[in-house]
């Protein structure tokens, strides 16, 4: 296999992985606090469409990224309000976020379908056909490096800082944390909104770099793969990154299979990543036999009066 083709595959892998990883990392933070947010798909869409709209109208990239991140975070605060403050079912609320986010983004983005973007998050160095790993890394853009930075920071904050330990304590055992005087609602609310912000960044990466245009439902299930990634990574940032690379590789590999001489229907090829995700998830769950590393209180609302 020629080097250029291999490097092209690596390049596509890194890009697909970045998109998945940022949102998965956000979901990881949310879930660490004991809140399950199934609305990743919706939050990514909201971030993607608002970022794209801002980019079209202002041609200011920095502003677009900020708008995308903040609007997704604001959107996720619906989930925070319903589940953290009102203690309602997290599954239902997360699903609403997905459905509402997809519909709302389609509504907002209706006039922007097919519009051409004048600005784009540019690569560090513009290399048409990277021929070695170093060049591949250089041809990634700022958000890719931001993702690496976020990964290191998140891992550090979760393991080494007071905030991270408290976050984990809240997710692990809300009652004990409450008697220790930790603010459950505040921690969970913040964690949910941070998760939304990360998903927003992922959405901005989608529309301003990965596929620089807007169409309806363009997230095409990636938000759900992010949820699988968190399980895959055992709620650990680095392992989640590894999972993102694996899934990114699959997403990049599948459309290239034909050029490598495999005779496959392009329609069937599109199914493969989803099927493989299911299979990986099954293997992983069997392998770990219950010891998945899930936060003890995930999905369960905390009622102070039941203490």
């Amino acid at each position: 296999m020629p080097d250029i083709q291999l490097m092209g595959l690596l390049n596509a892998t890194l890009q697909a992985a970045t998109l998945l990883f940022i949102a998965a990392l956000g979901e990881l933070i949310t879930e660490k606090s004991g809140i399950l947010n199934l609305g990743v798909e919706g939050m990514i869409s909201i971030g993607a469409v608002t970022g794209f709209m801002t980019a079209i109208n202002t041609e200011n990239l920095f502003l677009s990224i900020i708008v995308g991140v903040l609007s997704a975070s604001l959107f996720s605060s619906i989930h925070a309000f319903v589940t953290v403050i009102l203690k309602q079912d997290q599954t239902v609320s997360g699903l609403i976020l997905t459905i509402l986010g997809l519909a709302l983004s389609s509504l907002l983005g209706k006039k922007y379908v097919g519009k051409k973007l004048m600005v784009k998050v540019e690569s560090i160095r513009d290399i048409a056909e990277p021929s070695n790993i170093f060049e591949v890394l250089l041809s990634q853009n700022l958000i890719f490096y931001l993702a690496i930075l976020l990964m290191i920071t998140t891992s550090f904050v979760l393991k080494k800082t007071m905030f991270g330990r408290r976050l984990e304590a809240v997710g692990e055992d809300s009652r004990a944390s409450d008697s220790m005087g930790l603010k459950i609602n505040k921690t969970q609310f913040i964690a949910t909104c941070v998760g939304g912000a990360f998903a927003g960044l992922s959405g901005v990466y989608l529309t301003l770099s990965y596929v620089p245009f807007w169409t309806d439902n363009m997230t095409s299930g990636r938000g759900w793969i992010c949820l699988a990634l968190v399980i895959f990574g055992g709620w650990k940032p680095y392992r989640t990154a590894l999972g993102a690379l694996l899934f990114g590789f699959l997403e990049a590999l599948v459309p290239r299979l034909q050029t490598y001489g495999f005779e496959l229907s392009p329609y069937l090829v599109k199914i493969a990543p989803y099927l493989i995700t299911i299979i990986v998830l099954v293997i992983l769950t069997i392998y770990k036999e219950g010891k998945t590393g899930a936060p003890g209180n995930i999905g369960r609302p905390f009622f102070r009066e039941n203490r």
Binding site: L86, K87, I96, L100, L104, T285
Partner: protein
């Protein structure tokens, strides 16, 4: 919007036709929820139900058309159950999260549909529009009044059936225990895994039947447009009613009207996404009001 969706016999029957898949898929979701499992894969099950109907239609020919329709409906039900087989097996035996597996199956099945209607089943007469050939008129579901399909009667039957299954039957009671507390189930000698497995298959079957009815009464052919997000809307329908079958029937009718209303107002320049947004917002409202029901301020007489 109200007038356009329920104002005449025609539009009323359109609305109720749209309600059929919502109600059936919603009932399936509710049955699965009695064992505290979530079915996010109703969309895929609807598609596989329709695919199963077409598969049987192509390969088998029965001259008695009402018997044929009956067999096709059953194959739709089985198709939906097959669709959820993988999530059910992996959930029951290995504890794999069913929310993610049922959801991802949607993408697999919709991908399969797109493959079929572009490849093996492609109707040359449909030119550039990817779709399978139409089924013959002999297997169309008869209409009751206006355009209302007799699928609506099936819907009523299944809603009542699901109500009895969930609330009155031994199986429903055992499902509730199995879903409520694993320990209690063991003490009571209830095989919780078996109950969960059956509940998942029946839940998937309901959605598959919805796909079969949609195919035999509305689209008459397999195409990517068989379900327009019915499986997802059905989740809202089921959740709003707190998983109560009779409630699902009523809210399903309402949401069917909303969907038709949404499609009609599109022609006067308002986006049809408004309907989805209204539906999702209704559920948020329902969740919020749930909070105030739970935390009602009650006056209590001093003892």
């Amino acid at each position: 919007m109200l007038k356009l969706s329920v104002g005449s016999i025609n539009s009323l029957s359109n609305s109720l036709n749209k309600a059929i898949p919502l109600i059936l898929a919603g009932l399936g979701i509710a049955i699965m929820n009695s064992v505290k499992l979530w079915n996010i894969g109703a969309e895929g099950q609807i598609f596989l139900g329709a695919i199963a109907v077409n598969l049987i239609y192509i390969n088998i020919n029965i001259s008695n058309s009402s018997l044929f329709i009956f067999i096709l409906l059953i194959s739709g039900f089985i198709g939906g159950a097959i669709c959820i087989l993988l999530p059910a097996i992996t959930k029951v035996f290995f504890g794999v999260n069913e929310i993610i597996t049922t959801l991802l199956t949607n993408y697999v099945i919709i991908g399969l549909t797109v493959y079929l209607v572009n490849g093996p089943w492609k109707d040359p007469k449909s030119l550039n529009f990817p779709a399978a050939a139409y089924v013959g008129k002999e297997v169309y579901l008869p209409t009751i009044f206006g355009k209302l399909s007799s699928g609506f009667l099936i819907c009523i039957l299944f809603a009542i059936g699901a109500h009895y299954l969930k609330e009155k039957s031994v199986f429903g009671y055992e499902m509730r225990i199995a879903g409520g507390s694993a320990m209690t189930a063991i003490y009571a000698g209830i095989n919780a895994k078996q109950k969960a497995f059956y509940a998942m298959l029946v839940g998937g079957g309901f959605a598959g039947l919805a796909g079969a009815i949609e195919l035999l009464s509305q689209t008459h052919r397999v195409s990517p447009g068989i379900s327009q997000g019915f499986g997802y809307t059905a989740i809202i329908v089921a959740a709003i009613t707190g998983m109560r079958p009779i409630g699902i029937f009523l809210v399903g009718c309402l949401f069917g009207a909303l969907t038709i209303g949404g499609a009609v107002i599109q022609t006067i320049g308002v986006s049809s996404y408004i309907a989805e947004i209204i539906q999702a917002s209704t559920l948020i409202g329902a969740l919020i009001s749930q909070f105030f029901f739970t935390y009602q301020i009650k006056e209590v007489e001093d003892a």
